[in-house]
């Protein structure tokens, strides 16, 4: 899934690293090294996602974001920031950001989040669908029943929400932090591999004894659910 990304980042090394990463994934990347240029580019042309550094020379990232939203540019914006605390995240989201990522981050995390933003409103299974499917796995959001082919699977409430989230984002890379934020509503990193253990437990219930594996581990990034 390629797309056009605007990267507004003043640190040339980090900018190069991100641009190269997206380039290798097949994205077209336009770059701006300060807030004014970024704002100009973002209002002038069509991008799928804007990756915006929060601390920029000339014009602060949040000011750029507010100006964009005031100009009714609704392109999804992911704010990158060295300020990773909850306060800063809330400030970013309030200013109109669609996602917020603290520095330092791994490129895999950034890629997964940018892809998630791009899919918002396109190809993805609709949030209002009552039955979510992946291969022969079926999750009924009304009756809260899960079956794999003819096999009925009993899940704990949290496992159900975890699977629901994975199904809503099937085909996408889902990182541990994304899961922690979406399924548990925690915005800090517990540090240990708590999420991995939850996933492996769920994975055993879904994939054990099946010919087709639905849970895929994406090295260095997280997980992906797909029937391919």
């Amino acid at each position: 899934m390629a797309g056009r990304i605007l990267l507004v980042e003043d640190d040339p090394q980090i900018g190069d690293y991100i641009a190269r990463g997206f380039g290798e994934e097949g994205f077209t990347v336009d770059r701006a090294a300060n807030g004014r240029d970024g704002l100009f580019l973002a209002t002038d042309s069509q991008f799928d996602v804007v990756v915006l550094d929060r601390m920029l020379p000339g014009m602060d990232g949040l000011a750029v974001l507010k100006a964009l939203r005031a100009a009714e540019v609704e392109t999804p914006v992911l704010v990158l920031s060295a300020l990773g605390s909850t306060d800063d995240r809330v400030a970013g989201l309030t200013a109109g950001a669609d996602d917020y990522l603290g520095k330092p981050f791994s490129f895999a995390e950034l890629l997964a989040r940018v892809q998630a933003l791009m899919r918002r409103g396109t190809g993805r299974q609709k949030v209002q669908d009552t039955v979510l499917r992946c291969g022969d796995l079926e999750l009924d959001r009304l009756t809260r029943q899960v079956r794999r082919g003819a096999r009925k699977i009993t899940l704990q409430p949290r496992e159900f929400r975890l699977l629901e989230y994975m199904l809503l984002h099937q085909g996408e890379v889902v990182t541990r932090t994304m899961l922690l934020e979406a399924v548990w509503d925690y915005h800090f990193d517990p540090g240990t591999n708590v999420i991995d253990v939850h996933i492996s437990r769920l994975r055993r219930k879904i994939d054990d004894g099946e010919a087709q594996v639905l849970f895929h581990t994406v090295r260095g990034a997280g997980y992906r659910m797909a029937a391919d």
Binding site: Q13, G84, K103
Partner: protein, 454 residues
């Protein structure tokens, strides 16, 4: 941050002492006023009576100078003019004539004197002594004229004053009580107002300011100083925010570049040994990032440079959620994670308390035994969150130290981590106006207790 003062507003012992002091001082001042008044009035009355005695004498002298001693004797005998007053005693003696008296049976022995003076006289043998003002004056013919004015002025006065004093004291007492209580209430209210402001400051609301009066009294001075202090604190906190932001930017960007360089290298090499080394470097870079973030977070929490996101919260619910998150990991590590929950309502930031609890469970999983119990219960107006394990515990001598930043005990040095876990928990506790306590469990192990106010 101090433990939140309770909202109870009663008269404290200090307040009572202040009220009592005001009361006593008021009483003393009104008593002094009464005695001064008494003295003054006594003086006036006395002067008045003295004048009266002198007036009677002058009246008699007028008769004397007109008609001589015999005219005066007649005047006295017949009780004419001012001699008609039954309270006036007159005695004329010596001078070669018979003694003449009025209202007295004999001639009292009183030495001649310029001014009337108080004396005790027996008017008749059957009567008790009476108090009077008397004056004896020598006449040109050698006789002596004594004039006395009966009246126990001072004693009567004292009796009247005693009654007046009684009444005044009763009224002064009542008024002093009322004013002392009013003063007490006023002082108490102003002090509480200032204390609430200090409380708000402690809770991290550095924008608070007190209304500065212009009466220039001690309270205004205190308010002014409080405001100056708040001003300074808020400026320092803002500076801290700016410094930590700059530090974060300065340190995180290099760490991001470091991770980026490692990632780039990882994509380029195929040598398994190189990949292994790079992955180890990547893990260290991640560890460095986590430490940096936690250290900055603690700095922010300790500086109070965080937004107040406290909401009414049941610690039992927080514990339940966190236990649910950690349960699979505990099971995988062969640890039983148990819950003993009772309703524990507090006002707290869910994210921060969850994070503190996660740190404690994480520590217990790393260093504790094979059983971890999370307990919650209400305590006073707040609640306690306890994490108990059955591991080796922490020696009493190390317990205070281990809460400090970057302090790691010997058995932890070989394990990953930055020694920030408990420092973070402590910072969270203090930000909420609570406290962190480490203790030995009843059956050994470590009990970490987070006390939070309601």
């Amino acid at each position: 941050m101090a433990v939140r003062a309770t909202g109870r507003r009663r008269l404290s012992p200090t307040m009572l002492r202040l009220v009592a002091a005001v009361f006593v001082l008021q009483l003393l001042s009104s008593a002094a006023a009464i005695f001064f008044l008494r003295g003054q009035m006594l003086e006036v009355v006395r002067a008045d009576r003295e004048d009266q005695v002198i007036d009677v004498r002058d009246d008699l002298l007028a008769a004397y100078y007109e008609g001589g001693r015999s005219a005066l004797a007649t005047y006295i005998r017949e009780q004419r003019g001012s001699a008609a007053d039954p309270g006036v005693l007159i005695a004329l003696s010596g001078g070669g004539g018979p003694a003449v008296t009025s209202n007295v049976d004999y001639v009292p022995a009183i030495a001649p004197q310029e001014r009337p003076r108080p004396v005790l006289l027996r008017v008749a043998p059957t009567l008790p002594d009476v108090e009077m003002l008397a004056q004896a004056s020598p006449l040109p013919d050698g006789s002596t004229l004594m004039v006395g004015l009966v009246g126990a002025s001072e004693r009567r006065f004292n009796l009247a004053f005693a009654a007046a004093i009684g009444l005044t004291i009763a009224m002064a007492t009542a008024l002093a009580m009322v004013s002392a209580v009013l003063l007490g209430v006023a002082v108490s209210r102003r002090t509480h107002e200032i204390a609430s402001a200090a409380e708000e400051l402690a809770a991290g609301n550095f924008g608070m300011r007190l209304d500065e009066g212009d009466s220039g009294d001690g309270f205004d001075h205190l308010r002014l100083q409080m405001n100056t202090m708040a001003e300074r604190i808020s400026r320092l906190v803002a500076e801290l925010g700016a410094v930590s932001g700059a530090l974060a930017h300065d340190l995180r960007s290099p760490v991001t570049r470091l991770s980026a360089a490692i990632d780039t290298a990882l994509m380029r090499v195929d040598d398994p040994a190189a990949i292994e080394a790079l992955q180890a470097a990547r893990a260290d870079a991640d560890g460095l990032r986590t430490m940096l973030e936690t250290a900055l977070e603690i700095t922010r929490l300790e500086g109070g440079a965080v937004q107040d996101r406290r909401v009414p919260l049941d610690l039992a619910a927080v514990a339940e959620d966190m236990a649910e998150l950690y349960e699979p990991l505990a099971e995988q590590s062969g640890v039983t994670l148990g819950l003993e929950l009772a309703a524990a309502p507090v006002r707290a930031d869910r994210e921060l308390v969850s994070r503190a609890l996660a740190n404690c469970i994480d520590n217990a999983l790393k260093y504790g035994g094979d059983t971890i119990t999370v307990r919650t219960r209400a305590e006073g107006e707040g609640a306690v969150l306890e994490i108990a394990d059955n591991g080796p515990g922490i020696p009493a001598s190390d317990r205070a130290r281990v809460v400090e930043r970057f302090v790691r005990l010997d058995n932890a040095r070989t394990r990953p981590g930055g020694g920030l876990g408990l420092a973070m928990v402590d910072a969270v506790a203090r930000l909420h106006g609570g406290r962190l306590e480490l203790d030995a469990g009843a059956a050994g192990g470590l009990v970490v207790a987070l006390h939070l106010p309601g």
